[in-house]
Symmetry: C2
Subunit: 328 residues, 2 copies
């Protein structure tokens, strides 16, 4: 019996299901668990869907959202537990206890690092999202993909592909999205909610941080600064504004974008991004940090923010001279 | 003979082609004309591709970009002229003269208002972009869609659909994009260049304009201001920052976003956007402006920017009271 047949048999023969994903659920988690919740409800099963803490209100447009249970509300046993978009047991947080309250664990994921903790493990690291894997499973098992389920799956895919722009997007992804659009979902509305909506405090923070923008080396290098005072004034956390360092990198002329972020008294975290060719990891390594060629970081202590900026620009200038010597 | 057969006969039998699109070419224009340029070159035709003025450098990654001719460089005659993404003859600007220098005009467009000025007119108002129409034509005519051509067509489609988010995106659009991805194009790079890159001055302007953000009616209404001084300080034009008024509308709590823009001494243009239900056209009409329910505008003179803001907020408050009376 192959995995698909096993899965079919489990869904057909059992009655009490639970569904869960990782802590701090993102769009793929929320879309995946609610798509499966709606599918099992359509099949007249008993289903509990769990998150740790509060489900993010951003996804309240998804069918089934208001039926999500907080893990502290339950101590039931289940015939079968689906764990979605979760690389290992510890990422379940408080929901980990569910693993002891079920007869069968089905682990469906797209993280290449998944440690196959389930009784059945369906891992496809080439899939853009768990939503993409579930779409194929539902289709191969001949389950009806209703408009409600399609909205969940579209949410998964648009979230994990960054709006179909990340390199995990494949032609298969686009064909699945085409099928989802054909169910009649209001995809422009979902796209808007997931990708374009910003919080008020997030916009305020972007305004403050971009006002510190400075340009060096004929516009090839740019810096921005984020202080604790800015976060306080905007009553926000950094992540509400999205990836701030990307704003610097995404300026046309810029090859190296730098965000200098105050984390404590005289302690700064530096994020580096490069666009095409400059190795920012080399700069980060000099300060005991690390990363990749195009994305790296380090922490610098006991210097002022202006000293740090000057020093980093000097290091980059030196590296640039070397780069030009090698490439000319 | 149907249009497709006619087109096939023209391309097969003739040798000297010209291609043109509307003035101030956008992504769909540039992608469309260069896709056809590459296709006709692959078929060993003589081809001139024209724009009025300078072709936007943003699209320099497209194959054929450096072969684009400025219309002032040419007075040749052609067997056949392709006019792409152009609703009427006047939108050709200086390139309009080409209409008198060709035996046959082929007009391919997706604007519903197209006045069918060609000898052959292929108009599909349901297509997201001319790139989408051309993909189907090339395929139905059995022409090879090379990677270079696919890059052009992807550029067209991603530009005119706003990155697959506008409602002109259809399941057919997504299936075409899937086929384009299958040619092996570096679509993430194209997406990034078209959708994410910003100019330095554009970011500076966004920073200044967002710093004027004000919130009213428990966050349901928000305003931003754009002054002539800001444009001078940033050495930029408004459009370098994208649609500024959308930044206000896209704040979570906001239903009505307003941009007050200084255009002359004591003369302000107001842009209104609403998210879901508030009719901003009604407010604009009061000031002699107009528009649609969710997007409207007007001009107000002889008042200070602060007076205008106060007055608009008062008008919106009044309208909101009325709205609530009707809906409760």
């Amino acid at each position: 019996m192959n995995k698909l047949e096993e899965l079919k048999k489990i869904i057909d023969s059992l009655n009490n299901f639970a569904i869960v994903s990782h802590t701090s659920p993102d769009g793929d988690s929320m879309g995946s668990i609610l798509s499966l919740y709606n599918l099992l409800i359509d099949l007249n099963k008993n289903v509990d869907v769990f998150v740790e803490g509060q489900a993010p209100y951003k996804f309240s447009y998804l069918s089934g959202f208001y039926n999500i249970k907080n893990i502290s509300q339950s101590n039931s046993r289940y015939d079968c537990l689906f764990v979605l978009d979760c690389g290992d047991e510890d990422r379940l947080g408080e929901c980990k206890d569910l693993l002891n309250r079920t007869d069968i664990i089905i682990n469906i994921d797209h993280h290449i690092t998944n440690n196959s903790f389930g009784n059945i493990n369906i891992i496809d690291a080439k899939a853009s999202s768990v939503g993409e894997i579930l779409f194929e499973l539902y289709k191969n098992l001949n389950y009806k993909i209703t408009k409600e389920i399609a909205e969940c799956l579209y949410t998964s895919i648009v979230s994990d592909t960054g709006g179909f722009k990340f390199s995990n997007t494949s032609s298969k992804t686009m064909r699945i999205v085409a099928d989802l659009i054909d169910t009649g979902i209001n995809f422009t509305n979902i796209y808007y909610r997931i990708m374009d909506l910003k919080t008020l405090n997030g916009i305020k923070l972007i305004s403050k941080v971009t006002s510190t923008l400075k340009i060096y080396l004929d516009g090839k290098v740019a810096t921005m600064k984020l202080t604790k005072q800015m976060l306080e004034e905007c009553q926000t956390k950094e992540d509400e504004a999205g990836e701030l360092v990307n704003i610097v990198r995404d300026i046309e002329s810029v090859e190296v974008g730098i965000l200098i972020k105050e984390v404590d008294i005289d302690t700064y975290k530096i994020s580096f991004r490069s666009k095409d060719y400059f190795d920012v990891k080399d700069i980060a390594l000099k300060y005991g940090g690390g990363g990749h060629i195009k994305a790296a970081g380090c922490t610098i202590k006991n210097k002022s923010i202006d000293e740090i900026e000057k020093e980093l620009i000097d290091e980059i200038k030196k590296a640039w001279v070397k780069y030009n010597e090698w490439n000319n």
